[in-house]
Amino acid sequence: MEAIVLDYLDQLSDTFTEPRKRVFWGYLLLALGIGTIWLRWKLGQGWRRVIATTLSPGIWWSASARADYLLVLINKLLMILIAPALLTQTVLATWLFGFFFSQFGMPPSAGSLLPDWGVAAAFTLTLFLLDDFARYLVHRVMHEVPALWAFHKVHHSARSLTPLTVMRTHPVEGVLFTLRSALVQGVTIGSFLYLFGSQVDLVTVLGVNIAVFAFNVAGSNLRHSHVQLWYPKAVEHLLISPAQHQIHHSTTPRHFDKNFGAVLAIWDWLGGSLHLSEPGADIRFGIRERVEEGEHSLKRLYLTPFGESFGILKGSIAQLLPDRSL
């Protein structure tokens, strides 16, 4: 019990003090800086408006944001309890290494295929591409499968976006995301260890995967904010801009099911779900325009998705069964 409490406090503080985390204080400050520069000097807004867009209590202490904070606190604990039961990347990588060995024989001798720097670069790039694609795919599935959308709706029910909205997630999604990471990392590590042995390394900055670092330093946190920062059209075909992700959260029907990507926009481009930013458009966030009573209650956020999802599953199973009226 004591161990769980300590682990909980530790992980909670890690969330803000650990550069591997999206909401590391340094990244938050950088995002604030980038957002301010964008609003003040690119869009020429007055200081009062700049502060209203970035730091207003109307955003940070809204009912929606307060629900985010509560979810962060509760989910952390739930995930600590659930995580030990989940498949880990280590188990998967070990299994895969053994599988390759039994299928293709002894691994190539170390250093025979690529120089060390080449292996590290290839590993880091592969991991980034695979991870980003998996994020896109799982995200898309969460939207398109009704029984899963019931859970993902929790994230989309946010009316105001703050960087912490990234953790406004139903635990069932948390489990899926954890498995997704384990799968991507397990496959990449297992394959690279088989091919390159001890040469495998990760290219890091300040101990963080260079791709993750670059993404976060570039203001990744602005995607969950009210700062509408867009990229040139050509770039928005390659990278998802904060404004594009805000479109993903929009209540306007033509924006539904667009921009599933995390870092790269190419997956959406290839998959036909890319939607470029609309500079200056008034975008409201949420699932639908109409605000409902109790949108941010814990019951709605944690329990309702199970009921909905169960109802949908029951409906689809009933359709598969022979007509009972006969």
């Binding site: 591997r20 990347q89 953790m167």
Partner: protein, 474 residues
């Protein structure tokens, strides 16, 4: 940041006991000079610590290992008799063949009797059947069988079967005698209330109680210097290697000689130190500290029978010792499965290129011998390892996989090895990988020398092991 501080404060408060033991590494207690507590003791002994018999057996084991590599490839009854004298003889006058004075590293004793008289290894070897070796023999019979083979082999090595007897004999004997005696006898049934009670002398006239001596004997078998808590794992390791600069470290009482009784490193203490010097584990000090704490508890009992609570506490220390000792052996299994894997990789690469094997097959046999010896030792703790034992024995086999893809499968009526077709060397590499995995899964080994999947832990760590379990959306 504030949260970090709270967390650290909580951690320090709750784990203060661990902090204390960590400090002990610097100026820790010594396993010596515990007072005489026997009630009616009349003699003039000043302290009650005694484990000379165990140290004599360490000297016998070290010497036997040296002899195992002395053969010239012909049947050699003289050598065999000499080896048997160290294994099962009890005669006076046996010289200590190892450890001997080496350069600046001067040792105090030159004869086994100076440590203890009439001691042997055979009488203390595990009495049950050894399932990890063909022939349905007891541990003493397996060792005698190996001694017979070693005496007739060239420098203790049988190239036809890939067997390195110095390694096999040494590593298995450490398990069958030292480990078994300590964890299956002294730290097991001899801790029961009605056996060797603390309320009376071990034997009439002795300056130590029953339980005090039982505890000392277990400590002796571990094989670590009495002043281990004052030393680092690296230093304890260097003492066994008898390096010149290790002399001052070893000679705790500054009498100009290293006492083979109290100042030398042997057997599993050496392997514990070897695992720990990588910095990931602390088996040596954990085990030694538990021995010292247990011994202090006995001294504090002042010659009275132990209460149930005291005995429970003592058994707690014994459990720490047993668990960690087992891990030390599992780490060695892991390590040598890794070296065997690497040797096989080298051999396969050379064979594919039609190259010359050189001494690579010899190295492979040596590492396999260490692997097998430790794997056999792991099964000597007096408990049935069940499925783990079966898996381990099947994965490793009775010999390394030989060049014609054969393996020793048994022993015939004349004591000759029988070979059968087996898997190829590549598949055997996979067995080594599985052995390592088995040690991770069953014993949670942490030092992991020669990890075939080297770097996997570091990679997962770099990617942020915990990061993956956060419920971060997109």
């Amino acid at each position: 940041m504030k949260l970090k501080k709270i967390v650290s404060a909580l951690a320090i408060a709750s784990l203060s006991s661990i902090a204390v033991s960590a400090q002990a590494h610097e100026h820790g207690p010594v396993y010596a000079d515990f007072p005489v507590t026997v009630k009616d003791y009349k003699g003039d002994a000043k302290h009650s610590v005694s484990y000379g018999g165990q140290m004599a057996r360490h000297a016998l084991h070290n010497s036997l290992k040296k002899l195992a590599g002395k053969g010239n490839g012909e049947a050699n009854p003289e050598l065999k008799a000499q080896m048997m004298a160290y294994f099962e003889g009890k005669e006076a006058g046996r010289a200590i063949i190892d450890p001997k004075t080496k350069g600046e590293f001067a040792v105090a004793q030159t004869e086994v009797d100076q440590l203890s008289k009439k001691k042997n290894l055979a009488g203390k070897a595990y009495k049950g059947a050894v399932t990890s070796w063909p022939g349905n023999m007891t541990a003493a019979e397996v060792l005698a069988f190996m001694i017979d083979k070693a005496s007739a082999a060239d420098k203790g090595y049988d190239p036809l079967n890939g067997l390195d007897y110095a390694q096999l004999i040494s590593k298995f004997a450490m398990g069958a005698v030292f480990y078994n005696q300590a964890v299956d006898n002294y730290l097991d049934e001899k801790l029961e209330a009605n056996i060797k009670p603390n309320g009376m002398a071990y034997k009439p006239g002795k300056p130590y109680t029953g339980k005090e001596h039982v505890w000392d004997e277990a400590f002796g078998y571990f094989g670590t210097p009495a002043h281990t808590m004052e030393l680092s794992a690296k230093q304890v390791y260097a003492i066994a290697k008898q390096k010149g600069d290790a002399f001052d470290i070893a000679d705790a009482n500054n009498d100009g000689k290293v006492s083979l009784y109290t100042e030398m490193t042997y057997a599993h203490a050496y392997y514990a130190a070897g695992a720990d010097k990588g910095g990931k584990t602390d088996y040596l000090h954990t085990i030694t500290k538990a021995f010292i704490d247990g011994r202090q508890l006995l001294a504090d009992a002042k010659g009275e029978n132990l209460t149930d609570a005291q005995r429970a506490e003592l058994k707690g220390y014994a459990d720490v010792i047993k668990t960690n000792w087992e891990k030390v052996i599992a780490e060695a299994v892991f390590k040598y499965a890794g070296s065997t894997y690497k040797d096989l990789q080298k051999i396969n690469t050379i064979l594919e290129a039609n190259g010359d094997l050189g001494d690579n097959f010899r190295k492979y046999s040596k590492h396999w011998g260490e692997l097998k010896g430790f794997a056999m030792a792991l099964q000597m703790g007096g408990k049935d390892l069940g499925e783990t034992g079966v898996k381990l024995n099947r994965l490793v086999g009775y010999s390394p996989v030989l060049l014609g893809n054969t393996q020793v499968s048994g022993i015939d009526a004349n004591g000759n090895y029988v070979q059968s077709a087996s898997i190829d060397m590549e598949e055997y590499m996979l067995h080594m990988l599985k052995v390592q995995q088995l040690m991770v899964d069953q014993y949670g080994v942490k030092a992991r020398s020669n990890d075939v999947l080297a770097g996997m832990g570091d990679l997962v760590e770099k990617l942020g092991a915990k990061a993956a379990t956060s419920a971060e959306n997109d």
